[in-house]
């Protein structure tokens, strides 16, 4: 019923979605941890915007709450915490990758195609105005997975993890206008606790290995 007036909204949503995808690619290519955090904050912002848009267009009130939650957590709190962390740990730099950037890019591209192919038939049957973005959400998830694989520093892996969570959130909003509120809250809580624990971890790892480089964490193995 809202198709006649939601045309531009869909346009805008697709734009935001593609920005999201772009940001993930950027994350995949960045070397500096600080940049990654900035990009993560941007991702959160885009997510906030798209959520508000969906909330407005679909008239789902509780989506506003989760949008606010997003703004609070993913744009303000977490980036700030992470900034503090890397500053205290002196881990701004992350200039070693397991795979060089062009290859990563190519793999990422393949992943995006795969994700679209996967999401295409499903998004057809969705009755939300945001259905086309499901594929992008999946792509974001897979890309951040890829990023976790290719990075060597603990912090960057965590950022990848959070980015993946962003992708999930985006998927939730785009496919189903968001999960039920209780679940949203639970997810958010878990996320918060996770980051808290991560913080503890970083310091413990630092005091044990005086570095956050992952190749210290390779002693438990079979041979």
């Amino acid at each position: 019923m809202m198709m006649h007036q939601s045309h531009w909204i869909v346009e805008l949503l697709n734009l935001l979605a593609s920005i999201l995808l772009l940001i993930s690619f950027a994350m995949l290519s960045r070397r500096r941890t600080q940049r990654l955090i900035t990009l993560y904050a941007w991702q959160g912002l885009v997510l906030f915007a798209s959520t508000c848009l969906v909330a407005y267009s679909s008239g789902q009130k509780e989506l506003y709450y989760s949008a606010a939650l997003t703004l609070l957590l993913k744009v303000i709190v977490l980036p700030w915490v992470l900034y503090r962390l890397i500053r205290d740990l002196g881990a701004q730099w992350d200039n070693e990758l397991l795979v060089n950037i062009p290859t990563t890019m190519l793999v990422g591209l393949a992943l995006v195609i795969f994700a679209f192919g996967l999401a295409q038939p499903i998004s057809m049957m969705a009755n939300t105005i945001t259905r086309n973005t499901l594929g992008i959400a999946l792509a974001v998830i897979l890309l951040s997975f890829l990023m976790m694989i290719t990075r060597r520093k603990a912090v960057t892996q965590v950022i990848g993890f959070l980015a993946m969570e962003n992708g999930l959130f985006f998927a939730a909003t785009s496919a189903t206008y968001g999960m039920p509120m209780v679940i949203e809250l639970g997810i958010a809580l878990d996320l918060l606790v996770a980051v808290f624990i991560l913080g503890i971890f970083f310091f413990q790892i630092r005091e044990q290995f005086d570095s956050l480089d992952l190749h210290h964490l390779e002693s438990l193995k079979e041979d």
């Binding site: 996967l118 694989i149 390779e218 193995k221 079979e222």
Partner: protein
């Protein structure tokens, strides 16, 4: 089901048997009350166990000869849809008899045998011992796959603990490990076999399996798996590898039980599956079993003749005898497949009789080695000799076992081997021409084996008990105590009795063949003739043979004494003009092995060190291993080792790799559902 109704009406024999089995377990458990008191356990519990064994034997005999219908019983144990089923029929009765008779002798012996301070505490030993006995009895009584497997593994487990009772020696731990591993693999094969035989949906009772028809393919698979499983337990070549390690490692009564009784449970299982659970037999199965049996027989005999450790020698001879038993089974399958039930019955009775005989004389000999071991602390034949003078009782009773296992008339070993040869004679009746060509060769191999067994036993007895003691320490070896003598005498008596009056045992076997094949051989005649097919074809009478021998010998003795004289003087033996002979110049066990090593060279892996002529104290050492084990098993272990080395990279310790694994798994599965 039906059994519930009949439980009280006709199953009293069976319930009595189960109570006796329970009593065995109970004995084992109360042994734990005073685990360290040897007097309580050995002098108290083991004789009681012997009495129970007698009871079991009697009940088994009753079930055999009172040929009424099989008794079944169901206990509300086990799985919800599959309670424990028990069944006492002729087949199980026969093996109960076997277990009971030999078990009684062994338990009596064990009562006098165990000393304190040998490995595990007596109480624990008693527990394992009696659980072992109970397990074997339950294997024979079980009537559903689950109950059977539980009893089967209980048997394996308790015997394992008995084998490692002196676990401070690493080679004994090795032997125990190998034993349990092979037992477990065999048990899994049996599980698969039962899985094929069952009609499905909780129907794992033997009755259900009997009622299920199978396609030839699946029947064959089930048969082969059963052959693997039971063959591993019986020590058929090439699954024998554990046997010569485990049997010698155990204390002698346990070795006796493993060789004499436990191997027979494998025979029981083979018969149960082949003739009872499976409806059809194919002659190819028979051929396979026949070939395996003959191989094992010859292999065991050859290795027994080159081994110099007395218990190891006996273990190999067990492989030989198991081979003979399986030969009989193979022939029975061949005949049954060719619809010649009478000849099948002949072969099967031979196998059963030999199982019974082997349980008697092998236990006897193992127990005798136990006495020698206690008296001299030596196991190597090279260090023994002349014990007949210091241990007359053991020597005399062991002689009976030796002659019996060598297959000499009029003792029991001969009867079963004679029957086996007889059944070989009828193979020309088979339809497949090339089997007709093949089987006489089998008979020849059999004859070779039997003759080799005689060779081995002359070596065994002659080197241990005859000649001069090879070490001065042997002079003060002590004889067996009265309990041990009783046990030995009981077994020896069995050997003689079955040898002289084989039709007693044959009547028991006939009940089994009647049940499994629906036909029995004819043996009934007052003077103890056995003429399995027809008197004109072949006949034998141990009783008359013994009587004749005794008469002739007595007559000769009297005549010689009457006509000639009894004058005699003791002198030193003639030294062939070489006055410096020592007892070490007697022929040794290695010497006895020499011709065999010479003739059957390709079978062995030999390394020997010859002394140099200039050597002041020359020592000749030869080490013989069987090539087969190396060929079959080393590649397996090497392959496992290689694989497990190779897959170490999976756990490389790098988080990125782990993430990559789950990533790829995810993508793969997504592609699968795409």
């Amino acid at each position: 089901m039906l059994a519930h109704g009949t439980l009280l009406l006709q199953a009293h024999d069976l319930s009595w048997t189960l109570m006796l089995v329970l009593a065995w377990m109970f004995l084992g458990v109360i042994g734990l009350l005073r685990p360290h008191s040897l007097r309580f356990v050995a002098r108290g519990l083991f004789p009681a166990g012997a009495v129970i064994a007698l009871g079991v034997a009697i009940l088994g005999g009753v079930a055999l000869l009172s040929g009424h219908a099989p008794q079944t019983m169901v206990l509300p144990l086990g799985l919800p849809n599959l309670p424990f089923h028990f069944r006492l029929d002729a087949l199980s009765g026969f093996f109960l008899l076997l277990i009971g008779v030999s078990g009684a002798g062994i338990s009596t012996f064990a009562a006098g045998y165990f000393r304190s301070g040998e490995g595990t505490a007596p109480g624990l030993l008693g527990l394992h011992y009696h659980v072992f006995l109970a397990g074997m009895a339950l294997v024979v009584l079980a009537d559903d796959a689950y109950c059977f497997m539980v009893a089967w593994e209980l048997m394996a487990l308790s015997s394992y603990f008995l084998v490692v009772s002196q676990h401070h020696r690493s080679e004994i731990r090795q032997a125990g490990f190998l034993y349990l591993l092979m037992a477990h693999l065999g048990a899994m094969c049996l599980l698969f076999s039962f899985g094929i035989l069952q009609p499905g949906n909780w129907q794992l009772t033997f009755d259900a399996m009997r009622a299920t028809p199978h396609t030839p393919f699946w029947a064959t698979i089930a048969f082969l798996l059963a052959l693997l499983g039971f063959g591993a337990k019986a020590g058929l070549v090439p699954l024998h590898i554990w046997l010569p390690e485990a049997h010698p490692a155990a204390p002698s009564p346990v070795s006796a039980m493993m060789s004499g009784l436990m191997l027979k449970t494998a025979v029981y299982g083979m018969l149960r599956v082949t003739f009872d659970l499976l409806h059809v037999q194919f002659w190819q199965w028979g051929l396979l079993v026949l070939v395996l049996g003959l191989l094992s027989a010859l292999f065991g005999a050859i290795f027994a003749s080159v081994k110099t450790d007395m218990k190891r020698l006996l273990a190999y001879s067990s492989i030989e005898n198991i081979g003979l038993i399986f030969t009989g089974i193979g022939l029975a399958i061949l005949f049954e497949a060719a619809h010649l039930p009478l000849f099948a019955a002949l072969a099967l009775s031979a196998a059963l009789l030999h199982a019974l005989n082997h349980s008697l004389f092998k236990s006897l000999l193992f127990l005798a080695t136990g006495n020698v071991l206690h008296a001299t602390k030596r196991r190597s034949l090279g260090a023994l000799g002349g014990l007949a003078r210091t241990m007359p009782w053991v020597a005399a009773l062991a002689l009976v076992g030796t002659l019996a296992i060598a297959g000499l008339p009029p003792l029991n070993g001969f009867v079963s081997e004679w029957l086996l040869l007889q059944s070989f004679l009828f193979t020309p009746q088979l339809s497949q021409p090339f089997i007709n060509m093949l089987v006489p060769l089998g008979a020849a191999v059999l004859a070779l084996t039997v003759a080799l067994a005689a060779y081995v036993m002359v070596k065994f007895y002659g080197v241990i008990f005859l000649g001069q003691p090879r070490e001065p320490a042997l002079a003060d070896a002590h004889d067996a105590n009265w309990l041990e003598r009783l046990g030995l005498a009981w077994l020896a008596l069995g050997c003689i009795l079955i040898g002289v009056l084989p039709q007693i045992a044959l009547r028991a076997a006939a009940a089994v063949t009647g049940q499994l094949l629906g036909s029995t051989i004819s043996f009934a005649s007052p003077w103890g003739w056995i003429a399995p097919i027809a008197p004109k074809q072949a006949s034998y009478s141990g009783l008359l043979l013994l009587a004749g021998t005794i008469c002739v010998i007595g007559l000769t003795y009297i005549l010689v004494r009457v006509l000639a004289h009894g004058r005699m003087r003791r002198t030193v033996p003639w030294d062939c003009g070489y006055p410096w002979q020592t007892s070490r110049m007697q022929d040794t066990a290695e010497g006895f092995g020499h011709p065999i090593r010479h003739i059957f060279r390709p079978v062995f892996d030999m390394e020997r060190e010859l002394p140099s002529p200039a050597d002041k104290a020359p020592r000749y050492r030869i080490h013989v291993e069987d090539r087969l084990a190396r060929i079959v098993y080393q590649p397996v272990t090497r392959a496992v080792q290689r694989v497990s080395d190779a897959i170490g990279v999976v756990q490389s310790g790098r988080l990125a790799i782990y993430l990559l694994f789950s990533f790829l798994t995810l993508l793969g599965l997504l592609a699968a559902v795409l």
